[in-house]
Structure formats: structure tokens, C-alpha cells
Amino acid sequence: MFGLDKKHTNLLLLVAALTMLAPFILNPFPEGSGMAQFNAGYPDLMQRFVIFGIFAIGFNILFGLTGYLSFGHAAFLGVGSYAAMWMMKLLTMNVIPAIAVSIVVAGLFSLLVGWISLRRSGIYFSILTLAFAQMSYALAYSVLTPITGGETGLQPKLQDPRILDGALEAGASPRANLFGLEMTSSFEWSVGSWLFTFNVGYYVAAVAMLLSFYMAIRIFNSPFGMMLRAIKSNQQRMNYTGLNSKPYTLAAFVVSGMYAGLAGGLMVAMDTQVGAERMFWTASGEVVLMTILGGAGTLIGPVLGAGMIKYMENIMSKINETILHQWFAFLPDGIENLLVAMVYPFIGKGWHLTLGLIFMLVVIFLPGGLVEGGQRIARLFKRKKPSSDTPDGKTTPAE
């Protein structure tokens, strides 16, 4: 189906089912219960899961296949975001032109950066991409303030031209929409004490993610993908056989830059704001970590890694001391305070600490990332028929 073999069709269908049913899957706990804290099924976080999933899938096309480690991918995301925001300010609040332009602009920018940076390999390449991203960030934050808004970033304003849109009704503010369907509007369904939110923006982003994922599968299985893997395993030998590897790596770089641009455009479409921090080196580092954490070179890994990091950032950071005391309130005071004192450094404002520990544990014990963890569990259940096939078409994570 869709030009894929059975294994990959199943994987695609599984991912499609997971994203479409995410509002249920991510909200397993009833409202008002103590565990509701861990629900992630609200629009903002669901949107972030899929957007950063796209970003990581794209990054993985470059890093996972060719082995080129870019440390400046956040710049493409940021440039895409700025482009999308300007489309919304000048042309229309409809997200289609904004997203289209963000992909094109990020693609062009990554063509430029890639054309220069790919003259070098290894760590020299990484530092070149880092240098471009840091320059973009520094300039966007300071001297380019008239274009980028600098510190305060850009938001749609009432007085923006928006030449394709009609005048707003009095008191209304400009909102991102898809032919009138607003990204922020939701449809809610309560079942008993559960509440499920189906957000328009999320489904727009989720469809984009599925298309990106499908594209990634096609790239992974195409002759082009094989060529990229060949570059990773032994570029020298490839060059000796008379093949010029540069066009292939450059193409991979631009494709992954366009993925980043798409993610940037979607971020603006979901939440109409863009700031320069989006391009800081830590943001570039984050997508590297997402990819390795999930499992570089695998199809589903980067998406898992992105989900994991965003979940930590948004859910763990919100648990404060009061909530902890509520959790342990059934225990005697002394034990309650002791437990709170023991757990507190790792959650809430200490969420970074937990994140750091997880990075270390995963990379020490699961060299292939979360995907390897999944494979080990799967193997545990399949022990009866030991075979060489890897589940769900996940390729073994090569370095």
C-alpha cells in the first residue's frame, strides 16, 4: 500500500492510528484525579509532540542516514518561523501560504548553509553549522530587531496589513486559520469523568507529521537513501568508485532543512509567536538529543525522543511542592515530608536534573536509544521464536 512493503505499511498505519487517537491515548487519567497531572492530551503539548517529531524526523534524514552531525538545525526552524509570521502579517492569517513559504525559505537557507558547510566533514562540519546558527541567533536578537522583533519577537498585530484578509470585526484579534477554521478551536468530548480535546491545530499538524513520516519512509527505502547510507559507512570507498557524494549529502541537508522549516511554520501556525531563542544553540542541541535519545537512524526513534523530551519539559516542570504533598498526604507526616524531600529535587524546578539522568541512563544501558528499549521488550515476548527480523521495520540503529 502507498508504494511501501508490508512491514512499512504496518508501521505507517500504526503511527497514523497513534497520532489520530492521541487525544485519547495521552489522556488516560480522569479529570480531577491526582494522576491527571500526568495527562498530556491538551492541544499545546500534543501540537508540540508532532511538530518536534517532524523536526527530529527531518534531522534524522541527515544525521541518521549520512552521519553528518549538524549542530545548527534550529536556525532553519527559526528562519521558517519568521517567514511564516511575515506571511501572516503581510498576506493572510491562513496557515497554508505561511507554511508553504516557511518550507521554501528554510530550504533556500539550508541550501546556502549546506553548500558551504559540506565542504568539510566530521566535527569541522558540525562547527560550521553551529557557527551559522549562532550568527543567525545573535543577529536576530540584536541588529535585525526591525525584522525579527528582537527580544520581544513577533506576534500578529491589529494594524498589520494582511492584504488578502478582510477587515476584522470590532474587538476581534487576528487568528491563524485554515480557510476560516481556527487553529485554536477545539471540540471537546466528555466521557464520564474523562475529557478529551480534539483540536483543529493539532490535527493539521498531525496530518503534516504523517505526510513527513511517509516521505521519510520513502526516502529511507529509496536508492537515494541507500546512497546516503553508503556515504555514512564509507565515503572514501564511494568516492573511489567514481561517485560524487556531495550532491547526495547536499540534497539530504536541504531536505532536512525543509523539514525544520515545516516545523517552524507549524509552530507559528499553532501558536502565533516567534522569538530568536528558537535558534539558540541549545535548541539545535535539543534536536540532536531527541534523535539520539530515540534512536538515530531508525524511523520512529526521533519521534519518540521528541515526545519524551517535550513531555519532561511540560509535565514534570509543573509539579510543585504543594502537589507532592497532596500525593503523599495519606502517609504519616514524617514519612510524607521525607518522601517529598527525596522526590522534590527531581521534579518541578529540578526537571533538568531528571532529564540529564535520563540521557545518561538511556545512552549507557540502551545504546540504540528508546527504540532499542522497545526492541528488547518485544524480544522478551517473542522469545519463543528467535529470529533475526527487527520488529516494525525499525532498522538496527547504526552509529
Partner: protein, 446 residues
């Protein structure tokens, strides 16, 4: 489907009351089940969102803000000694929550990044049903979250944000700021500087290269030049700079005799430390003692710079050594609970929380439009800054501004600044139209 719907808590509670244990039919929220504004509290509690930096360089400032909010919640719910509720000129608050609903709160981490701050604020609105968002310690975050609250239809009570933009070119009808701004700092500082250092001074500005730096430099330049000072040079420094030696070394050569550091946070701590290290303050230029000025002070920054702040002028929104009834009450209640005096960030956040609660009481509704109306042109006293006006045109508070100076002989690690002058509000008031921007109409959301 053309309206935003962010109400969750409201619905689930009505849904639960309806009692149908099985499936209820899917409902479009717009059609029914809401009270005309986002996250209308329906049960016996109301949820506020405290969005402060808990990681990153401003984490300590965020921690102090959070302490203030927790204290405010305690007082609003009738606990503690009541704090500023006793001295506040409006007596609408009863100590029984807000409109009889017990105040609950959720917290989040802004990381001092606009993306993270918006993500955190959105989760408070979408997941936790917060009806008001407050906090933050930078203008980038304040402007970003304010725009979000405008779109989502909740009230934003800004925390520490000093840029003119927050209530200037980026002002929003749903956003309110109690903290002062760059313009006021400049206007308050200039006369004191002229009194102490004379009117024949040559100033050299080092300015943080982003919006807040620009507005602060402009404000200080304009107001000191009006006093007769000359600006020799203004050099922009990158936000990510940590060592300012190459910017400070040429200062003496330029013939300047005052150095103005338009820096905040880590930048300010480092640039001031470096400037003092160069021995600038022991030098004589043009027959005058060389001086350093820091337009915006905070106690945490003063603590970071240590002994280097001694004798250096700056401005601040509030300081715990103020002797009016409101300030004394707040210091007493905060100090008793936490063991040390509150910072200006804690003060502004506490006051913002109380002002919001009071406005809801007076409006009789949590509807952002009603609350906004109650806050606009609201005059009050007893909150530590003297008589204060929440101006309706730009939602900016107008009150006295403190000019402070680094203390020569501090008695404790919190006793770092002394008040030099309380500049009356009339000197720092400006016309609301000078910074541009459009307030727009209030947005109640759903």
C-alpha cells in the same frame, strides 16, 4: 466553530454534575455549557497560573516571585496575617478567596524563553483551567505571554518587566503591568544624578543589544541630556557576553567621566564587576571623580555583584526598607514566613495578585472584560508605593519611583541598597501615546 474554546474545567464540572456516568454526547462548547468567557470558574475554587522562571539564570528571582504568590494565595484565602490586605485602600477583599471561591494555583517554568513561557502558559489555560496568568522576569517573556493571554481571553498580570514595550508598542487590553519602566527610570534618575554629580558630565553608555537595552539607553540619555550632560559614546554589547573587559577598557580614553551600564541580570553583574575591577571608580577625569550608574537595580543583582555596588546609583520599583505602612506590613508578613526580606520582584508579584483579586471582587465577575474595566483608571494606596494609578490608556501603573544607591556598610546579605530619593509620580508620568502601539479591545475568549 469560529470561536476559540479553551474551557475545560468548567465543562468537566458541569458534566460531572449532570451525573451521567456513561457517555454524554459530544458537545460543541460554543453551543452551551460556558459562561461567556474562557475558563469561567464553576465550582467552589478558582485557579490562577503562576508562570515564573524556575530554571535558567533568573531562577532565584523566579523562586522569590513564587514565594510572594504563595503568600498572596494564603492571604486571599484568609490565612496568615493578611499582609497588605490590611493596608490596601480598597476593602473589597474579605479573606474568603475571590468572590467566595477558594484560590488554587498552578505553577510553571518560563525558562526565561518566550517559547517555553507560552507553552507553560498555554498548558495552564488549556489543561488546568487558569483564569489569570501572572509572573515572569523579562520583557521578552512578558510581551509573548501577554499576546497569548489576549488571544486566549484571560487576564495577564505582568511580573518583573521593565521595557517600555510591554505597555508601549506591544500593549494589549488583557495585559496589566504594576512594575515601572525604562522611561520612568530615566526620568527619576536624571535629577538625582545632576544633584550629586553636577550638570557638566560626559557619559559613556554600554547598552545590552536588545529591545530593553535600547529603550533604557534612550530614556537615560534623553533625561540626562536634558540636564546638561553630554553623551560621548554608546556601545552595544551582545546579550551572551560574559566578559566586558574589551568594552570597558576604552572608556577612560574617550574622555567620559560617567559610565552608564544599561544591563540587566547576569550582564549587569559582570559588567559592573569588570568596571570596578578596572579601578574606574578611583580615577579622576576632567577634574571629577569617575562615576558608574546602573539604571535598573534588583537586589539579586546587587547580591551577585557583591561589594562592587557600593555607592552606585540606580533605580528600583520598591525596596523593603521603605517605611510606609504597606511596605512594613508586607516585609513583616513575608519575613516572618520565609526568614528574609522580600525582593522587588516578590513585591510586584504579590501586589499584582492582590490587585487582580480585588478587581474581580469589585467587578463581581471573573470575566476578563469586567476585570479589565475595574482595573482601568483604578486609584489605590497602601500597597507600598504610595498613591498609585492603573492608567486606562496603556494599563501601566503610575507611582513614585525609588532612586537607590549601593550601601557602604551592609549589615546583612539582604541589606545592600539604600534609598536616596523617592521621586514623586508627577515627575515620571508621560503621555500614553508616545510609544505607539494599540491596546485593542478586551477579549473574554469563549
Amino acid at each position: 466553530m469560529s470561536k476559540t474554546n479553551l474551557t475545560r474545567r468548567g465543562l468537566i464540572k458541569t458534566g460531572a454534575v449532570a451525573g451521567a456516568a456513561g457517555l454524554t454526547l459530544p458537545t460543541y462548547l460554543r453551543a452551551d455549557g460556558h459562561s461567556g468567557f474562557t475558563n469561567a470558574p464553576t465550582g467552589s475554587t478558582v485557579t490562577l497560573g503562576f508562570n515564573v522562571p524556575q530554571s535558567g539564570p533568573y531562577a532565584d528571582e523566579g523562586a522569590d516571585e513564587l514565594r510572594a504568590y504563595e503568600l498572596a494565595v494564603e492571604h486571599l484565602n484568609g490565612g496568615g496575617d493578611g499582609g497588605l490586605m490590611n493596608t490596601f485602600s480598597s476593602k473589597a477583599l474579605q479573606g474568603n478567596g475571590i468572590l467566595g471561591k477558594k484560590v488554587e494555583y498552578v505553577t510553571g517554568d518560563t525558562q526565561t524563553k518566550s517559547d517555553a513561557a507560552r507553552a507553560s502558559a498555554r498548558s495552564m489555560i488549556e489543561k488546568d483551567g487558569a483564569v489569570m496568568i501572572t509572573g515572569g522576569s523579562s520583557s521578552g517573556v512578558a510581551v509573548a505571554v501577554q499576546a497569548l493571554c489576549q488571544e486566549a481571553g484571560v487576564i495577564f498580570m505582568a511580573g518583573l518587566t521593565h521595557s517600555n514595550d510591554t505597555t508601549g508598542k506591544d500593549k494589549k487590553a488583557n495585559g496589566f503591568r504594576h512594575f515601572f519602566n525604562s522611561y520612568m527610570s530615566g526620568a527619576a534618575l536624571a535629577p538625582i544624578l545632576a544633584n550629586n554629580y553636577g550638570t557638566e558630565r560626559k557619559a559613556y553608555h554600554l547598552t545590552a543589544d536588545y529591545n530593553w537595552g535600547y529603550t533604557t539607553e534612550e530614556a537615560v540619555r534623553n533625561s540626562t541630556e536634558a540636564m546638561g550632560w553630554e553623551t560621548v559614546a554608546a556601545v552595544k554589547t551582545p546579550l551572551t557576553q560574559t566578559d566586558f573587559s574589551s568594552y570597558i577598557a576604552p572608556v577612560l580614553q574617550s574622555g567620559a567621566d560617567v559610565l552608564v551600564l544599561n544591563h540587566y541580570g547576569g550582564n549587569m553583574v559582570n559588567s559592573l564587576t569588570n568596571a570596578v575591577q578596572f579601578g574606574l571608580r578611583e580615577k579622576q577625569v576632567n577634574g571629577k571623580n569617575f562615576e558608574i550608574v546602573v539604571p535598573l537595580y534588583s537586589r539579586l543583582m546587587a547580591k551577585g555583584a557583591g561589594a562592587n555596588v557600593k555607592g552606585i546609583f540606580g533605580s528600583t520599583n520598591w525596596h523593603w526598607s521603605l517605611q510606609d505602612e504597606g511596605s512594613k506590613a508586607f516585609v513583616q508578613s513575608f519575613g516572618t514566613k520565609y526568614g528574609f526580606p522580600p525582593s522587588q520582584a516578590a513585591h510586584t508579584c504579590y501586589v499584582q495578585a492582590l490587585l487582580y483579586a480585588d478587581a474581580v471582587e469589585r467587578a463581581g465577575s471573573f470575566n476578563p472584560c469586567a476585570v479589565g474595566e475595574a482595573l482601568s483608571d483604578f486609584q489605590f494606596d497602601g500597597m507600598g508605593n504610595g498613591p498609585t494609578l492603573y492608567r486606562g490608556e496603556d494599563h501601566q501603573c503610575f507611582k513614585d519611583v525609588l532612586v537607590v544607591k549601593g550601601k557602604e556598610n551592609p549589615t546583612s546579605e539582604f541589606d545592600l541598597l539604600e534609598i536616596v530619593e523617592i521621586t514623586p509620580v508627577s515627575q515620571v508620568t508621560y503621555d500614553a501615546s508616545i510609544f505607539g502601539g494599540e491596546l485593542g479591545a478586551c477579549n473574554p475568549g469563549a
